[in-house]
């Protein structure tokens, strides 16, 4: 392919930004034309990320300040935003206006209801006029709707790990209406790359702890999408835990099957939904996924088990929070909106 799509990464010095660079530097159909960082502006990319040194595309790049004009001047056709929520929307708005397509990793465009945003993020939604246009872009459950969009809201890391196992079962009405319990464990990169005592090595190493109980922000988007899939209000609890690994989310879900529904029904629904989705790996009955099999990749592994004694269905998933939960999903969406192979640049091990 002689011409590649020109891409800018806005907010490239965090962990999601770093993963975007890792994937885009070697992407066969994309050319990284701009990388921004307020703190590192003017520095070579490889000063901040020495890991990329020696890769020609990386050696050629220097961070620029995150100014709209400068981003537009790079010639980028698509901007991927790896910015904090509450900051991303401004860039999205201006870049759309400048004619770029925007793939946003923040929470700013995930919720359809601005009042839910206000409840969970603590301030009014700053650009509610864009919410209608934005697509909640989880490719495995949203399908073709993503293709034509120019404002892509990538799902959160935890929600991806919860929605992939649950949505097909809710759509097929296999589950009872009892409250669903979700226990998720995430690596520390989920907390971002910023100065902070609680995320120092010595505070996280040899430590396991739950946090943000009972109202983690990701509940808002999980709820939105579960309700949509079920066509009713879905009751669920969601508890997150911080685990001493760099990358990886492991999610365990406790739910229950409606009378007359068997595990074979679950397996049939999963096969229909995911057998041809390249990044969902169905592990089969009583097989536990392991984060170490997905870190660095865009795969999400899903296992399941019927606890007949308790009458519970247990769903288990693992993914890399920075890849399928962030940067990889963004590149997958880039591939979709640009008409590339969905797996382009993402079959990395």
């Amino acid at each position: 392919m002689s011409s590649k799509i020109k891409v800018a990464v806005v907010g490239a010095s965090g962990y999601s930004g770093r993963e975007l660079l890792r994937l885009l530097l070697l992407h066969p159909n994309a050319q990284l034309v701009g990388v921004t960082s307020r703190a590192a502006a003017g520095k070579p990319l490889t000063t901040e990320f020495p890991r990329f040194r020696g890769v020609a595309a990386a050696d050629a790049l220097t961070f620029i300040t995150p100014d709209i004009d400068k981003i537009v001047a790079t010639g980028a056709e698509v901007a991927i935003l790896a910015l904090p929520h509450g900051v991303a929307h401004e860039f999205a708005s201006a870049l759309l206006e400048a004619g770029l397509r925007v793939i946003d990793l923040s929470a700013d465009f995930r919720l359809r209801d601005a009042s839910v945003y206000a409840e969970y993020y603590g301030h009014e939604h700053p650009s509610p006029e864009l919410l209608d246009e934005a697509v909640y872009a989880l490719p495995e459950i949203k399908g073709d709707v993503i293709k034509g969009s120019r404002l892509i809201a990538c799902p959160g890391c935890y929600p991806t790990s919860v929605l992939v196992p649950l949505v097909p079962l809710l759509r097929a009405a296999l589950l009872t209406e009892e409250a669903i319990s979700v226990s998720s464990m995430s690596g520390v990169s989920g907390a971002g790359r910023k100065e902070s005592v609680p995320f120092l090595f010595c505070e996280c190493n040899e430590s396991v702890r739950s946090y943000s109980v009972p109202k983690h922000r990701h509940i808002s988007e999980i709820g939105q999408e579960l309700d949509l899939a079920a066509g009713r209000k879905v009751r669920f609890s969601f508890v997150t835990h911080l685990i001493p690994v760099n990358q990886g989310i492991c999610t365990t879900i406790f739910t229950s099957l409606r009378a007359g529904v068997s595990l074979a029904d679950v397996e049939r629904v999963y096969a229909e939904a995911y057998a041809h989705r390249p990044f969902v790996r169905l592990l089969g009955r009583n097989n536990s996924p392991d984060t170490k099999n997905v870190t660095g990749t865009n795969f999400i592994d899903v296992g399941w088990s019927l606890d007949e004694r308790a009458g519970s269905l247990i769903l288990m998933s693992t993914e890399d929070n920075l890849v399928k939960g962030a940067a990889g999903q963004a590149v997958q969406n880039l591939n979709i909106i640009c008409g590339f192979e969905e797996t382009a640049g993402l079959m990395v091990l």
Copy 2:
């Protein structure tokens, strides 16, 4: 106290054994008179555990083979067994006959019903005649019944973390009969100190995974004790996860309050049950416990939270699987049966 109780540790070269040594070597009322290890017999204790070198009581000890006669010959009045299930019962039986009191860390005497043992452990119970005599010795919920016993079955590591938060609430009938969901995470020492590929450093580091789904062995004793507390059959699911830390269990429990019961009721019941129990630390509403605050200690930390949106009560606990979940609990029971201060030798940080 001029005379100390004489204690032998049978099976002292594993991780629970090591923790027993750590606690007993410095215990003000106990004297370690014998340590057994089939593999290390004849070797100084400090060859196997160089950490203890320089501690006079440790420098004086040499491993002996685990023969009943040799154990009896040490003059031990109490034997603490840190042996695999299916092996412990033989020693227990013979040592009781020889007049020693026995504190057992294995699963051999935890279940009152031999058929449940057979179901979960895969072979007939080898000494069913001892089951009536054995006490399921979780001091915080069993109280005085432990005191007079000569055969102490210490609860499993996971069950301790599940029962301490749940039992008082079930006894007080605060919970609905909906299925309870339990998600537990354990450090790797729970797998024991034996040759094995799945527990190599490189297999566990940077990995989070569930295992033994849906029927972990500890379900048997958790079920026994929950039923007993509730006075009915309690439905629950239990999923365990392996986490890359050496020691520590973090348990998160999803349950629900009966109509009319408030979080204040939960707190009143907890206060009544545990305010004067030296090793239960009640963290208060919406406070998450962290394994790093309990590792190496005999404390179990308990937090709780009401998820009003979902109608769920979330209970959270952390403990050290090798201490409160094994060796520390054994020493606590030693203190109880010997009439020492319950905290003797256990206020370590």
Copy 3:
């Protein structure tokens, strides 16, 4: 002993401070009467360090601001300073004046020559008049000189691990004058408990790196003490590495024996120097020490090996940087100046 020495810890919210609390809360001859923290003033000790909750002495303490008057008002007879260099000297000076004895963990009083301090710490020494009075208090090599002192400078963590193996050999003139090479590896707690990107979990986990090459600050005190021991200028290089563990230093030293000196001579000198020192454990020929055997303890383990092929003597030591390298050494010095058993409160495992 009915009366205990009253101790204040100034700067108690860092990692060395935390270890001081851990040791002093359970010390048989010391009473912790004051703990200061600028950031946590007014908060209960157990809010900052939930690990200590449930220990009566800890539950009773609240952080105070680090004001001289407030510290004096606690009735403390000894103040232990766990403050940054450049800050400690002011407190030391004022507290000495108020009649307290001072044990300082910072670098402020370790160097006898104020110009060396200026060279390595980048500013003039602020209280040069106190340098003569201060004692470089490494008990294993300084012996009785510590006893009568009222201003104790505790050695740095790395220097302790380098000096214990080297000083007796230099004193006995067993080594050649070739440059000594020292390679040290430290856990991340050595970097302190402060907001910082380079010491975030994800920056240190799965990472090994040297740092501060070629001129680490600790070279100044190592050089001072090596020269003193040898009675000549000792040439040495010192490279430090950051390793993903919480606590522990492992030091490997390459040197060479003078003609006619044998490994037996080394062993005789070590035995004379350390056989009766309770915290030095001599592991013997070709035995490598392991940080996991010393973490949490005040022990320093020393092994050695002769590489006949290369003509090199290899010395190896491990210690806990926060204990023998900081808080434990401070308590050991407290014991010495107060006339307690040298091991009082320090035989922890």
Copy 4:
């Protein structure tokens, strides 16, 4: 390229084997036609390594037993051996005879002198007749000699990290004849993927220790190549340390410059030797390499520093022990002998 070279990996279930698979499954010019494993024979590749599931080339492969006939029957043109030393030579010999080219990761063909092999590996060399033919294939220092060879001995992981920094300086005669001191730190994967207590998670985590002091086996090949580069016997000591990371070697070397040689000379020599070598990254003066920047890649990062105070030159390198130290180097050699781009399939991040 329509036709790819057909490659078999013999001994594919260990860690080096796994990395070979990772690289070869996505290699643009190679086709993986056979993978052997005694233990996993008959099982799909993805059963042993679930990480590779979903990659078409992996889903198609099943382990075969390591029989010469079966390997030949795969049609492989090149065999890469990831077998233990003492086992590899038999396969090498038979496969060469069958007309394959052989790239060996073991120590069997690294030493030119069979008596040195016997000294360091504890048994006579089993195929001394092949030693003349074998090439010690460190591409950065051996250059064109590799190209025409049919028996490639890949250097050990540690030796690669030592030789890349030292060989050019020895060749240029910049260093004195004083003993060189080498301190290396390796991740645990270096110990292999086999049942073992010392490499269990809990034995390695929170532990740093030296091992195999003073005579690590890799001394034999390091010595061979240093002597060759210097044209004289080079004296050096080599101490290895085990560090709790999965992958990565960090090596720190203490040596000294001959009178009149400056750091600029060192830099000129490095630039001449490595400026055009795609996998050596020269970090510049006083810059420390970090294993986290090379893990998973085939890069080796080199930094240096002059310690004028001690008169020492400090060289520092990092690499991934399984990639540049094993599988990556093998693929690099595959590229060289097949006439592919040297970086083909190796520009992974």
